[in-house]
Amino acid sequence: MKRLIVLRVVAKMLIPFMLLFALYVQFHGDFSPGGGFQAGVIGAAAIILYALIFGLPAARRLVPERLVETLLGAGVLLYGGVGLAGIALGGNYLDYFVLGRDPVSGQHRGIFWVEVGVALTVSAVMLEIFYLFAGRGHRFDE
């Protein structure tokens, strides 16, 4: 597909917007439908699109598997860490009320970080699965 110039150009234009949209969904999750899960999927989709157009090796150079694995672990750890922070600050597990000076800002902060963790994990898992399947058997783009 590398030779299809239309696809390459369109993809090059689309991918930054997809990533931006992922961030929008991510940060708007507190106020409207959305959040880490959807954002993670959209973000991963952008990378997957990149891999489809420019080939798996290119995508692997961009986002190495090692990084994916790290993000995967880091996401879960972030989620768990926020939960433990609640305990450390005297609340229950995943207690956001105690994270800020007042309950509202605490909730805000807690949800923010948890959603970041979720987004990281989800996009990493999507990519991991994609890499695993794409890397199996014949290389479809080479």
């Binding site: 995967l72 672990g73 768990g80 597990y93 009320f97």
Partner: protein, 490 residues
């Protein structure tokens, strides 16, 4: 970190340890993190057990949102009992896994194994600790997905197929479960189990609720390998890495039994499940058939690991038999057998893992005269085997004893005779090992490298000793089970 946080911490410790092990990227630190997390959970579970025994059930509001709005973790006598079993076995298996997984897996991917192990432990503990039906589903998926991968790591080619079949069936089970939960949510508007139970009491005979019961029963039955939904189990247990087999055999199906108990007695209530519906008869019939057929199939297996896998199906039959009695004795027997069989089967699979390490697999051709080259392993298998049979002085006897008592209490003499008689089949299949290991001359395929390394032998013998210990000192196991049974029947 005070004691009130224990219900969360017991689950969170392995859950957080999983990404840490993943990020460590090296086998040794990953293993250390995993072992530490399991050990921490075990201590926490013991502390919880002490706490609930003296002070009654503990409720924990996740995120400080009070139930039924937030997710509630609820630890009572029964769940504390299962938590101790799961975390205890996880802790004992962890050091074993260091030696066994190192030999069975590629070294550079070993850290993944420990990360998944932690996830699986976290999932099983979460299923036990949570009081929320949907949260339970989430943990069920965590435990199942990680166990599929763990099984697929087995070095036999067939491990992949077994894991795939387990995946398909496990997913069907989980889907059925979640359909059941959906129906219940539709009818009650809550996901909190205690709340659900209260709201179900008026509408328990409506068709959606009955359909939910059917879906949950079949879904959980798949997970606990109730006959005839056991077909995924033998291959999964046979081809999985030894440490995984031992851990899952001792805990995986047991937690599903716990879920079944929770839903039958805690959510739907004894009246509808066992009195209005012929659930107890069906469960009884299935248990009886499971015990007979699985024991007989076990008798003819050519591989010790597979034999034990079939024996597990039969033993699960004894547990569900106890549940089907729905009496104090029956439930005590079920819960105590859940515990006793967990440690006994764990011990057996660990020891067989040692044989597999030396011999490649545990086919009976590798066991001829084994007692001469691996005397401690063979002796351990015989002792744990005695417990599997239900010989007096072992843990297995205690559970069979209560099962027989329960059968008699219910006036079912034939059932008591049946329980005693089927133990004879267990005698026969354990005898096959004795015959091969002790009476047969040393075979050509028998491993001659000597005993398994101490890191494998010591955990195995801890469980062997436990299965003897709990045959004499029943103060923890039986009293805990009796309390749990009383709680369920309230």
């Amino acid at each position: 970190m005070s004691a009130e946080q224990l219900p969360a911490l017991v689950v969170v410790a392995p859950l957080v340890a999983a990404p840490v092990a993943l990020l460590a990227r090296r086998a040794l630190p990953a293993w250390m993190v995993a072992t530490a997390a399991c050990g921490f959970s075990f201590v926490a579970a013991l502390a919880l057990a002490v706490q609930v025994t003296s002070g009654g059930a503990v409720s924990y509001a996740l995120g400080s949102w009070p139930p039924p709005w937030g997710i509630e973790y609820r630890v009572d006598v029964l769940s504390a009992f299962v938590l101790v079993l799961v975390s205890g076995v996880a802790t004992v298996v962890a050091p074993f896994a260091w030696a066994s997984a190192s030999a069975e897996l590629e070294r550079e991917r070993l850290y993944l194994f420990y990360a998944l192990y932690c996830l699986c432990v976290a999932g099983l503990l979460g299923m036990t600790a949570t009081g929320d039906a949907f949260n339970l589903f989430v943990f069920m998926e965590i435990a199942s997905l990680s166990s599929y991968v763990l099984i697929a790591l087995g070095r036999d080619r067939r491990a992949l197929l077994s894991a795939y079949q387990y995946l398909v069936l496990g997913t069907i089970g989980a889907t059925f479960y979640v359909i059941g939960i959906g129906l219940l949510y539709l009818m009650t508007g809550t996901l909190n189990m205690a709340d659900m139970a209260a709201r179900l009491s008026d509408i328990s005979s409506t068709r959606p609720v009955l359909a939910a019961l059917a879906f949950i029963t079949v879904g959980v039955s798949l997970k606990l390998a109730l006959f005839p939904l056991h077909l995924w189990l033998p291959n999964a247990y046979t081809y999985a890495p030894s440490a995984v087999t031992a851990f899952l055999a001792a805990t995986g199906t047991k937690v599903s039994v716990y879920v079944l108990l929770r839903f039958y007695f805690g959510v739907f209530g004894t009246r509808i499940v066992l009195e209005e519906l012929p659930m107890s008869q069906i469960l009884l019939a299935l248990s009886v058939v499971a015990i007979v057929t699985a024991s007989l199939v076990a008798l003819w297996q050519a591989d010790l690991k597979r034999l034990l896998a079939y024996s597990s199906i039969a033993q699960i039959g004894y547990i569900t038999l106890g549940i089907s009695m729905a009496s104090r004795e029956g439930l005590t027997a079920a819960v105590v057998h859940l515990f006793n069989h967990g440690i006994t089967k764990g011990a057996l699979f660990l020891l067989v893992g040692g044989v597999a390490l030396r011999a490649g697999h545990a086919g009976f051709d590798r066991l001829q005269g084994l007692a001469r080259t691996m005397p401690l392993t063979s002796l351990g298998i015989v002792i744990a085997g005695l417990s599997l049979i239900g010989t007096p002085g072992t843990a297995g006897f205690v559970s069979k004893w209560y099962l027989v008592l329960g059968a008699i209490e219910a006036g079912r003499w034939w059932l008591a005779a049946f329980i005693v008689a089927t133990s004879l089949i267990a005698v026969a299949y354990i005898w096959r090992f004795v015959e091969a290991a002790y009476l047969a001359p040393l075979g050509g395929a028998t491993p001659r490298a000597g005993e398994a390394p101490a890191a494998m032998l010591v955990p195995a013998w801890i469980l062997v000793a436990a299965s003897v210990w709990f045959g004499f000192d029943t103060s923890y196991s039986v009293q805990g089970a009796a309390r749990a049974a009383a709680l369920l029947l309230q």
